[in-house]
């Protein structure tokens, strides 16, 4: 049975997170020049376009929040005491952009085409070329390798508007969550400085319904 590039991408997205309203905790371990640091976030996703990220580690950053609705993004810190509009590609920590955590649904943001069929290790994979639908997305282009066996994302390369590769990602540790095997670990590496690595570990996936008000920017100081 032949699948269209859009179908492949949608099925691959399902392996990276729940599609409907859910919450998840993300631990980010950053290694830069042999120095390690750790951050932790709770992400509340209402849908693919709407997410609230609340930081609870380290201590000095506790209470920091990032809200994304569509391509709009705000940051709130207990110090500033007001939501401040920012752009999606600003860095959250290490190699992780705000959009990497808050906006993870590729099929919403990118138009896929099958570039080639390749073998990644023992796995036969489609190599998808994802072109940004809108200039506001975190990346202008992504190359994504998807397993032909079960649509699991294997790895990706992210490109800037200039065409320059920015970073690579690997999707690992697939576990059965809410009836589907999903990746619970993503390793992001700086394309030029390979020793700069951020490991995102997802846990406590939970289907949850949220009030619309939670995603109003003026709710951030409630």
């Amino acid at each position: 049975m032949a699948f269209t590039p859009s179908e492949i991408l949608k099925k691959s997205d399902e392996k990276r997170g729940l599609t409907n309203s859910f919450s998840v905790q993300v631990q980010v371990d950053v290694t830069e020049k042999n120095k390690k640091s750790q951050s932790a976030f709770k992400v509340s996703n209402k849908d693919v376009n709407t997410a609230l990220v609340e930081q609870f580690e380290p201590e000095r950053s506790k209470g920091r929040k990032i809200l994304m609705t569509g391509y709009d993004m705000w940051i709130f810190t207990p110090n500033i005491k007001r939501p401040v509009r920012i752009s999606l590609e600003q860095k959250l920590t290490g190699e992780v952009a705000n959009g990497d955590i808050a906006r993870t649904n590729f099929s919403e943001d990118y138009t896929p085409e099958i570039q080639s069929e390749e073998t990644v290790g023992p796995i036969k994979a489609w190599k998808l070329n994802l072109k940004s639908k809108d200039k506001k997305t975190t990346y202008s282009r992504i190359e994504l390798w998807v397993s032909q066996k079960d649509f699991a994302p294997i790895k990706a390369t992210f490109f800037a508007l200039s065409g320059k590769p920015l970073k690579t990602a690997e999707f690992l540790d697939f576990k059965l969550i809410e009836g589907l095997t999903r990746s619970t670990k993503m390793i992001i590496r700086n394309f030029l400085a390979k020793d700069e690595v951020s490991v995102l570990t997802y846990s406590k996936f939970k289907k949850e319904s949220f009030s619309d008000s939670l995603f109003n920017k003026d709710h951030m100081d409630f």
């Binding site: 640091s37 609705t69 590609e89």
Partner: protein, 430 residues
């Protein structure tokens, strides 16, 4: 009287909290402590000030129920600024200039998914501009601190009732303060300096702070409507309140050497304005336009007088997208007086240019280079800061701050306080 206000509100908040705690089945408490210390090494050799600012903040948060909670912060602060700036201002500092205990955020609140009522000491921030307080006028500021100090350290909490309701992507907020409070100023404030008062033939000055009005005798009211649509945030607000900045009345000149006594006064004014933040391609635009009505300013010719005028302020700024981990922000602001008296101690137009360049480095480190320049008197400041998160709880900052321009200028008069500094912040939370 100010202390009476503080005690009244603290006791009221504590009483309500105690009642709530008794009513709650299993309240959840959390404790935190923040230490913030800074040592300045003044670059001007003959300034022998100790250059120390220390601040300690104790915090307890309490969730009585899902809807009902409280945050109780008390801060102590010691700031050697008044002694360090003694040669600049010729005003004898008092112990009140050095050590203070004050409530930071100290409030209880009830919230539902789209409604918030919060009462007690709190900070309410309106506006979009960075580093400037044109629309952020509600809470008084400690203007002895450098303009590059984080706004939270400059802002002082104010006892107020704060109601906010959310609908769709909009919000409506109403605030009412129980009594006004005023900016904490360097000894001779913003518009009056030792230099422009020299014309009165006085060698030393003494400032009498404005008395706080009795509780509820001069309440202040304001409201703000905010909406987000089409990639922008648009808000409009109105508030009637006591001007946080003073004008001065000369009450006496006596003694040898001559000492002049200036009394701070605060005019009841109203501010109305609009703010905008919008994405344009990968840039973020920020703008404010506001009108302050019925402001009072000092005049100075043969004597010290006053003149009334409305003030119109506009601010426009832009943040660039991140390029190689650099982000650049540029901002221009202009304050214009509608009625101008040539004897005023400020010019008709006061514009400011400010820039900020930040660079994110590895290991969560970053640096920031900021400048501010006032074309009306050719004064300005430059500031460099390197931020080094040392551990999960400790952040260290190294910086340098330099004032420049004529000594009579608003920024240049702080030339002697240009300094290298080290700042350490430690956050302990349970």
């Amino acid at each position: 009287m100010a202390k009476c206000h503080s005690y009244f509100f603290l006791l009221l908040t504590l009483f309500t909290t105690a009642s709530a705690a008794r009513a709650a089945s299993s309240p959840v408490y959390a404790f935190a402590l923040q230490y913030d210390g800074q040592i300045n090494a003044y670059s001007k050799n003959d300034n022998s000030g100790s250059g120390q600012i220390n601040r300690l903040r104790l915090e307890q948060s309490a969730d009585f129920t899902k809807e009902f909670s409280g945050l109780f912060q008390v801060s102590t602060s010691s700031n050697s600024y008044a002694f360090d700036a003694k040669t600049t201002y010729d005003v004898n500092p008092t112990s009140q200039n050095i050590f203070e205990v004050f409530p930071s955020d100290f409030y209880i609140q009830y919230k539902t998914s789209n409604f918030l009522i919060r009462t007690g000491y709190q900070q309410v921030v309106w506006g979009e501009a960075f580093g400037l307080f044109y629309s952020d006028f509600i809470n008084p500021k400690d203007l002895r601190l450098s303009p590059f100090t984080s706004p939270e350290k400059q802002r002082r909490s104010l006892p107020m009732l704060n109601l906010k309701t959310l609908f769709g992507s909009s919000s409506f907020q109403v605030i009412a303060t129980a009594s006004p409070d005023y900016d904490i100023l360097p000894p001779l404030g913003r518009q009056l300096s030792k230099d422009n008062l020299a014309a009165l033939g006085v060698s030393q000055w003494s400032i009498t702070k404005a008395a706080h009005p009795a509780l509820f005798s001069k309440p202040e009211y304001g409201a703000k409507l905010n909406s987000s649509f089409w990639g922008m945030d648009l808000s409009g607000y109105y508030m009637t309140y006591d001007d946080r900045l003073p004008y001065y009345q000369l009450t006496s000149i006596s003694g040898v050497p001559t000492t002049g006594v200036l009394e701070e006064k605060h005019q009841r004014i109203s501010s109305s304005g609009v703010t905008l933040a919008a994405n344009a391609f990968d840039f973020v635009l920020r703008a404010e336009a506001l009108k302050n009505q019925n402001k009072k300013f000092n005049t100075l010719v043969a004597g010290l007088g006053t003149a009334d005028s409305d003030e119109s302020v506009s601010v426009i700024g832009i943040d660039t997208p991140s390029f190689n981990n650099y982000i650049f922000s540029l901002q221009f602001s202009d304050s214009a007086l509608n009625k101008y008296d040539t004897a005023l101690t400020r010019p008709k137009y006061q514009s400011l240019w400010s820039t900020r360049l930040t660079k994110s480095l590895s290991k969560q480190m970053s640096w920031e280079l900021s400048t501010i320049y006032a074309p009306y008197d050719q004064g300005g400041m430059a500031h460099f800061e390197f931020v080094w998160p040392k551990s999960k709880i400790i952040e260290i900052k190294f910086g340098y701050e330099q004032s420049f321009g004529p000594r009579s200028s608003d920024f240049g008069r702080n030339y002697d306080l240009s300094a290298l500094y080290v700042n350490l912040t430690a956050d302990f939370k349970d």
